[in-house]
């Protein structure tokens, strides 16, 4: 139907005025000057014809096209519709929780323009109180790993979710109809929602929820959520095996021993929570609780609470162990034991404390030194009944039974151990896995779904497992990688990375937390919980923006959590608060003593059955790789081990004396390759280089777990494999790549990490280890590290343990503090504006390495690979120096002159057999009289008026003079173009598009040939100042932090404005323990270190430090008004 309506734009049109009609057809109101332009008659004579014109046109287009080709492509796409919460240039922080089946922590995730780029601990919420470990910090990089699966796979070929889902459901139904078992094999699931989904999954395929047969008494009556504890099925293992669907939780490192012991002694198969903060005396037999044992994120914070020498008390920590562990290196007293002696030590303690011997255990073979230390430990434990703690790292039930007995005798179950507050991690039952293999071989299993666990790598009987898996009709993996186990499965339904998914957790009885996605899934992956929901008909697949899991979690929290609380009136404010904080707070149950009923005789019998051999092995987990979950993460691979300082490798640690006896190379250096040995355990063999480890119990060796990932060349991340000199992957098995290190899990039978070696034989091979620190001792230099004992600290004046350097000047030989002598004019930074400063408490620093990774993440520090590290070119801006004491030093850095006269420097270079250890973070000291600044010919490094030593990358011409002249050797040079040179293709994340997403846009990626170093996170300083300015107030503590101080689990690093007299850093720097490294060089750093105080008896040290004080007491003069506030002490330089 036509219309008669007339539309018009103006009255002129409506009226059709003559002017309008005249102009209507003309687009431009004024005449164009084209005619004028073309009026030149000469043009008519032009010979350019149509064809010529087309030629010219063609040429021009071609030329323009070619020129356009050379323009760089800049992948900066602006938002079409800008998300409301994102402001370009401003970071968003999201609270979340981290759980990978191994570590748990409450975290904060920093995102920029929608990309997560940094992870740190959440100090405000959650029981981990901001504590993290390097693996958690580095997990953000694994998100951008290019070898993560990008979609579902069937038999190695990419497929889509619809078809994989239908095939898996068909397979599950078939298994069900065949009357075969469906097994869900996972690591410990602490997610209530996942447990709920698994329950319904079981109900669907098994006809009944398998957890129904759990004794109700085991479930805490007031549990806020209705899910039944999976951990409680152990006593019904046989009945559970008859179910159609079984959920087997298998942990690579098992804590079965503790659970079994508690079942035997208290009737509960639980892991209690421990409170290190409540213990005045801590005795650990082989438990590396600051690094890997159970829940180190929580224990570290607790432990450090009472390590302050100025606090109400300082705990005393005894560590007895075979390897030099991170925990052992921080202990006050450390005894060396063989793994086979762990039981004896416990029996000895039991006799000393409870009075009765543990039957059958012969403690007479313990060495004199050990006995003395054990006696001392026992005395101290007894003296502190009710405020002490004994723990054991052993996974033997018998050991843990004796530990329980001693703790009962010490009355610790009312304080430091809480049986009512369980740790829900590590519910693995060692026997179940063996049974599964058997059932698979018996063809009783119709389907296996592997989730978040990797038994083909980490299970001691991995070969048997792999063979048995072939008998299973339906094999499904929900792994993020086509790893050792997943690559054996027909179907891989890849899970999201943890930062892409919703999850909830129940790590401890009264702690519930949430994990929220911080980025839309990068690939076509799907959360495992959702997969289970879909396969059991609880949901349907809807693609990447699915809210299935989110809705389910919300539903559960509404049903259980919200219903139990009274604080919030409506669910959404409850929910939003919990998402905001990532966790909810529940009342923690008070500890109480449970009826104790241990069979010590049986325990003794079992303990006595552990007989050592010529060589004993203690397997351990490194701070960097742990159990190898992130073996493809280059940050972690390049992180120096806190103790050995070796990167990118797995090795055997052995005591230097044993190595000498075996004729192994004791040198570790660029061109000093290590000897290689073959360790034989039964049929299994491991061939690894040997590292000389002071403090290693003689005749024992340590080997780290977590290496040897991807031995079949599986795609688990490019950095999990050796590269050659040119950066190409070396070839390994099956034409694949050569994995780094050897897999030590294969020798760990039954979850026991302490075992006997049949033989250790030297091979003719040599192998280069890449070590960031090759010199072990501090050479008695006590202006670098300072250490004292609690007794001396409490009883002596500052000058005894923290002297200052004085110089004599003028005719009268006036003593003046060294800081009063200046070659240069002062920078005008004092009392004007800000002066950024830092204090580092050597007493708090445990050397975990989280700061190293946080700094790398925040500042885009390149990864350089093993070969470059070996050449001494690691790029870490912040490094952790580890010093051992030598026999000449009663403690690290203090020289015994009498012994020195005897042994000289040669004796100073060799660490003691069981040395004291100090960890020292070393970074740019931001000297106010910086030696680097004066020597730069082009003024590329200068001093800011806020006290920062600034590095201007684009002014640097790369003479490296500054680095040479730095007394602290903290400057790092870009030897190559790390973001593009071929040598770093496989290791440096900045070399591929996905990896580049982790880069912090606030920090430039440095080019080849320039110097770089710690900037005190100047980008964060600027951001903090801006924030304060916007709020129209002064910068206060907490506005500005550095990545290292922010992430430090022990709060060892304090950062702030020194000119603010109220700031923590100012106060901290004026404490008696504060000193500046190499004060006598006159660099006037903006970093103060604080003397390490060890809570032990050290007669030799006391005689030096106290005598020193007595000899100088009368010389004490009041020194001038020095800025650092030291001054009531005196020391002549000549004494050093």
């Amino acid at each position: 139907m036509g219309t008669t309506k007339k539309y018009w734009k103006g009255l002129e049109e409506l009226n059709a005025t003559p002017q309008f009609t005249e102009r209507a057809d003309r687009e431009f109101p004024q005449e164009l000057t084209v005619d004028q332009f073309l009026a030149d008659d000469k043009l008519k004579e032009s010979s350019t014809g149509r064809r010529d014109f087309l030629k010219f046109l063609g040429f021009s287009v071609a030329a323009a096209t070619l020129a356009a080709c050379e323009a760089p492509v800049i992948n900066a796409v602006p938002y079409v519709v800008k998300p409301e919460e994102i402001t370009p240039g401003v970071a968003n922080w999201y609270a979340s929780s981290y759980y990978d089946g191994y570590s748990y922590a409450s975290i904060l995730v920093k995102t920029r323009e929608g990309r997560p780029i940094h992870v740190k601990g959440n100090r405000d919420h959650g029981f981990t109180k901001g504590s993290v470990n390097p693996q958690i910090v580095a997990s953000v990089l694994s998100l951008y790993d290019g070898e993560r699966l990008k979609g579902p796979h069937t038999s190695g070929a990419e497929t889509n979710w619809t078809s994989i889902d239908s095939e898996i459901i068909k397979g599950l139904n078939k298994a069900q109809s065949d009357g075969k078992k469906i097994v869900l094999l996972s690591s410990t699931v602490i997610s209530p929602t996942a447990q709920d989904v698994i329950g319904q999954f079981s109900a669907k395929f098994g006809g009944a929820v398998p957890m129904m047969n759990v004794a109700p008494a085991v479930v805490p009556a007031d549990a806020p959520e209705g899910e039944v504890e999976n951990s409680a099925v152990s006593d019904n293992a046989d009945s559970a095996s008859n179910n159609k669907v079984e959920h087997i939780q298998y942990d690579a490192v098992s804590y079965n021993g503790i659970r079994e012991a508690n079942l035997a002694t208290f009737g509960k198969r639980i892991i209690p929570s421990y409170n290190f903060a409540a213990a005045k005396v801590i005795v650990s037999i082989g438990a590396d609780f600051l690094n890997s044992w159970l829940l180190p994120t929580e224990f570290t914070t607790q432990y450090l609470l009472n390590r302050n020498p100025d606090g109400a008390f300082m705990s005393r920590h005894f560590q007895f162990e075979a390897n030099m562990s991170l925990t052992g290196s921080n202990s006050d007293m450390r005894g060396m034991l063989k793994p086979s002696e762990y039981g004896k030590a416990l029996a000895f303690l039991h006799k000393e404390i409870a009075g009765s011997a543990v039957a059958d255990v012969d403690t007479s073979s313990l060495s004199e030194d050990t006995v003395a230390k054990l006696k001392m430990a026992a005395e101290e434990l007894k003296a502190n009944k009710g405020t002490s703690l004994l723990i054991s790292g052993s996974n033997r039930k018998s050991h843990q039974v004796v530990v329980n007995a001693i703790n009962i005798a010490l009355n610790n179950y009312i304080s430091s151990i809480n049986l009512n507050e369980e740790i829900n991690l590590f519910v693995s039952e060692d026997a179940k896995m063996d049974r599964l293999v058997k059932e698979m071989n018996d063809k009783k299993v119709g389907a296996v779904i592997i989730w978040d666990t990797n038994p083909a790598y980490s299970y001691a009987g991995s070969e048997a497992f792999k063979a048995a898996l072939a008998n299973v009709g339906l094999t499904v993996s929900m792994s993020r990688y086509a790893d050792e186990s997943a690559s054996l499965c027909t179907y891989i339904a890849p899970d999201h990375h943890a930062l892409e998914a919703w999850a909830d957790f129940n790590p401890k009885t009264s702690h519930y937390s949430l994990a929220q996605p911080t980025i839309r899934p990068l690939h076509n992956t799907r959360g495992s919980v959702e997969s289970l929901m879909i396969w059991s008909g609880q949901a349907t697949h809807v693609g990447p923006d699915s809210t299935n899991v989110h809705d389910r979690i919300q539903q559960n929290w509404e049903q259980y959590g919200f219903a139990q609380q009274t604080e919030y009136l409506d669910f959404f404010s409850y929910w939003n608060a919990h998402v905001h904080n990532s966790c909810g707070s529940m009342e923690i149950k008070a500890p109480s003593v449970w009826p104790f009923n241990a069979d010590l005789a049986a325990a003794g019998k079992d303990m006595a059955s552990v007989v050592g051999s010529d060589w004993e092995i203690s397997l351990y987990q490194k701070a960097s790789l742990g159990i190898g979950l992130q073996a493809g993460n280059p940050w972690l691979q390049e992180m120096p081990d806190p103790i050995t300082k070796v990167t990118w490798d797995n090795y055997v640690t052995m005591s230097p004396a044993d190595m000498e006896e075996m004729g192994l190379s004791l040198e570790v250096g660029q061109e000093s390759p290590s000897s290689v040995v073959t360790v034989k355990v039964g049929e299994k063999e491991l061939t690894l280089p040997v590292y000389p480890q002071p403090g290693q119990t003689p005749k024992t060796i340590g080997i780290a777990l977590g290496y040897g990932r991807g031995e079949g060349g599986q795609k688990i991340g490019r950095s999990a494999y050796h590269t050659d000199f040119f950066g190409k992957h070396e070839s390994g098995n099956n034409d694949g790549r050569r994995s780094i290190g050897a897999n030590a899990f294969i020798i760990a039978a039954n979850g026991i990490l302490e075992l006997n070696a049949d033989s250790i034989t030297k091979t003719n091979d040599v192998y280069n280890l890449a070590c960031t620190q090759t010199h072990s001792t501090v050479m008695g230099r006590n202006s670098i590290v300072k250490e004292t004992t609690l007794e001396i600290y409490k009883s002596q004046p500052k000058s005894a343990y923290n002297h200052s350097h004085m110089l004599h000047s003028g005719w009268n030989h006036d003593e003046k503090h060294i800081n009063e002598f200046n070659l240069w004019d002062e920078h005008p930074i004092e009392h004007v504006g800000h002066r950024w400063a830092m204090t580092i408490d050597l007493n708090s620093c445990i050397g975990c390495g989280s700061c190293v990774i946080a700094c790398q993440s925040e500042n885009n520090v390149p990864v350089v690979g093993k070969d470059e590290v070996r050449r001494g070119r690691d790029m870490h801006w912040l490094r952790l120096d580890r010093y051992y004491a030598s026999d000449v030093e009663p403690t690290v850095g203090t020289k015994d002159d009498a012994k020195f006269d005897e042994g000289g420097f040669a004796a100073l270079e060799i660490p003691s057999d069981n040395p004291k250890v100090i960890h020292m973070p070393m970074l740019c000291q931001h000297c106010n009289h910086a030696p680097c600044e004066t020597v730069c010919p082009v003024a590329a490094t200068t001093h800011s008026n806020e006290g920062l030593n600034q590095m201007t990358y684009n002014r640097c011409i790369g003479t490296r003079y500054c680095a040479n002249n730095c007394p602290y050797k903290v400057r790092r040079f870009n030897w190559f173009n790390y973001p593009s040179y071929r040598k770093f293709v496989e290791v440096n994340p900045a070399q591929d598009d996905l990896g580049r997403m982790v880069l912090n846009p606030d920090v430039v990626v440095r080019t080849r040939g320039v110097m770089e170093k710690c900037s005190f996170c100047v980008q964060k300083i600027q951001a903090g100042k801006l924030e304060a300015k916007k709020q129209d107030r002064k910068v206060v503590d907490g506005d500005v932090t550095t990545a290292c101080s922010d992430v430090c689990p022990t709060n060892a690093i304090t950062f702030g404005d020194w000119n603010d007299t109220e700031s923590m850093v100012r106060k901290s720097s004026q404490e008696d323990r504060a000193y500046q490294v190499l004060e006598e060089v006159g660099t006037k750093p903006n970093i103060w270190y604080k003397v390490k105080v060890r809570n032990d008896h050290n007669e030799a040290l006391a005689s030096i430090q106290v005598a020193h004080e007595a000899g100088h007491g009368e010389e004490t003069v009041e020194s001038g008004p020095t800025q650092e506030g030291h001054g009531d002490e005196t020391h002549e330089e000549a004494h050093h």
């Binding site: 010199h775 230099r781 670098i784 490094r879 120096d881 580890r882 007394p967 030897w975 190559f976 000549a1134």
Partner: protein, 464 residues
């Protein structure tokens, strides 16, 4: 005309006339080069090209192709730089200082010594350039107006002083050398037969006509330049030593460095002059002009400067102990007994012991022994710089950062390459430039010529 004491040894042996001098010097330029010259030049150029290749690889890939690390950030690069600068010292000392002291024996050696200086300084200058991480912005060390606003160079930095010192030294030495060459180029020009050579040498000789006015100006300019160059002889190496002396690194931070470096430089420079001249006089049959007495004089210089260097080494040791600074004393204990003990003792043997043998007259007049010692001294002086640079920084304050240095093939290739380039230049110089100062030699012929001194020259008496 001067009269020289009869007991002084003559400086020109046998009977030579003015024409003989011209002939002897120009023979190599005008005649055909011997096969040996081509072989030597071929080898030197090949080695030099290999060095150039290594430099290209270095510039294309990065400083990481050297063996440096986070602790030892200078090693062979700066060792080679200081070594070459040191060698570059002798020439100007000979031509300027000895000119002011009126040492006539210098006339036979100054030309080639100056050439050596120039080439050595070229080689030396190469290292600070290529050792930069970003050579392409190296011009920022120049205090030139720039587009960066008020951004200026850092006048506190000894590296900047180096830039000025080396460039001044190079330009003055070059001018001085060239001025001396002008009359001799004119001689060659006048004798040249091929039109190409004639054209080339006439350009090189700047229209020299030999007029009295020219000679007058020539003398004045030489004197003025000698006066200018003399302080430079002392300043250049003093300033080079400031690179180390002004730092805070134990073993570098030493006030004795300036005189010690200058003495060391003269020491090594003379040794290199000996090495080159002993080959040159043989190859070009100049035994009459450069003979035992010249060698002996230079050996005495080597002995004296070697002794100064030895005293400096011992002073350093004493001071490190006397200072009571633990880092300082450890630095020297480490030099002597640490992992680089072999470098230290090579240095001590080559530089302290070997020159003392020159006290024996027979040895210092032995050409073969001199040649041997001259090479030993240069090896020793290379080690001296290596010891100062590497052993000081490889173990400085914080033992956690202690490290070793291992050279790569690129380090070695570039060093060998500069030797090749240096000898290539020197061989070309020997072929196309007058290797002795013709005009200057002529001025002493009748004073110090053997036949004139002992009266055997024909018509000798006519001159008086």
């Amino acid at each position: 005309m001067h009269k020289e004491s009869a007991i002084r040894e003559p400086l020109i042996l046998g009977h030579k006339t003015y024409h003989d001098i011209t002939e002897d010097v120009c023979r190599s330029i005008e005649g055909k080069a011997p096969k040996a010259w081509y072989i030597m030049l071929g080898i030197a150029m090949l080695v030099g090209l290999y060095g150039v290749g290594c430099i290209c690889y270095l510039l294309g890939t990065g400083i990481g192709t050297w063996g440096l690390n986070k602790t030892v950030e200078w090693a062979w690069d700066i060792t080679n730089f200081v070594w070459w600068v040191g060698i570059g010292h002798a020439g100007t000392l000979i031509s300027a200082v000895l000119l002011l002291f009126r040492q006539r024996w210098r006339m036979a050696i100054n030309r080639s010594a100056e050439a050596m200086t120039i080439f050595a300084v070229f080689m030396a200058g190469l290292f600070p350039l290529i050792h930069m991480g970003r050579l392409w912005v190296g011009y920022w060390v120049m205090p030139i107006p720039n587009q960066f606003g008020s951004l200026w160079v850092n006048f506190n930095s000894p590296l900047l002083w180096d830039v000025f010192a080396i460039s001044t030294y190079l330009s003055v030495s070059l001018v001085f050398w060239y001025i001396g060459l002008i009359p001799d180029f004119a001689t060659i020009r006048d004798r040249a037969k091929s039109p190409v050579a004639k054209k080339a040498y006439s350009i090189l000789s700047f229209g020299w006509s030999g007029r009295a006015k020219h000679w007058n100006r020539f003398e004045i300019v030489s004197l003025v330049l000698a006066g200018l160059a003399t302080p430079l002889v002392f300043s250049v190496h003093s300033i080079v030593s400031f690179d180390f002396a002004t730092s805070v690194i134990p073993g570098w931070h030493t006030t004795i460095f300036p005189p010690y470096f200058v003495a060391g430089a003269v020491f090594s420079g003379f040794a290199m002059v000996q090495t080159l001249l002993l080959i040159l006089r043989k190859g070009m049959k100049l035994e009459a002009y450069i003979h035992t007495k010249h060698v002996e004089y230079m050996n005495i210089v080597i002995m004296v400067t070697g002794s100064i260097v030895g005293v400096a080494y011992l002073t350093e040791l004493f001071i490190s102990w006397y200072s009571g600074v633990e880092y300082e004393s450890y630095a020297f204990i480490n030099r002597a007994t640490g992992p680089y003990w072999w470098a230290y003792w090579s240095m001590m043997t080559c530089n302290v012991i070997s020159p003392q043998l020159m006290w024996i007259r027979k040895l210092r007049r032995s050409l073969l022994f001199t040649f041997f010692i001259s090479i030993v001294v240069n090896i020793g002086m290379w080690f001296e710089r290596f010891v100062i640079i590497v052993t000081s920084i490889h173990r400085d304050y914080l033992p956690s950062a202690w490290s070793m240095f291992y050279p790569t093939w690129v380090d070695i290739g570039i060093f060998i390459g500069t030797l090749g380039l240096f000898f290539s230049f020197y061989l070309l110089f020997a072929r196309y430039f007058p290797v002795l100062a013709i005009s200057e030699l002529k001025t002493i012929l009748k004073i110090s010529g053997e036949s004139y001194k002992n009266g055997t020259a024909p018509g000798h008496n006519d001159h008086h």
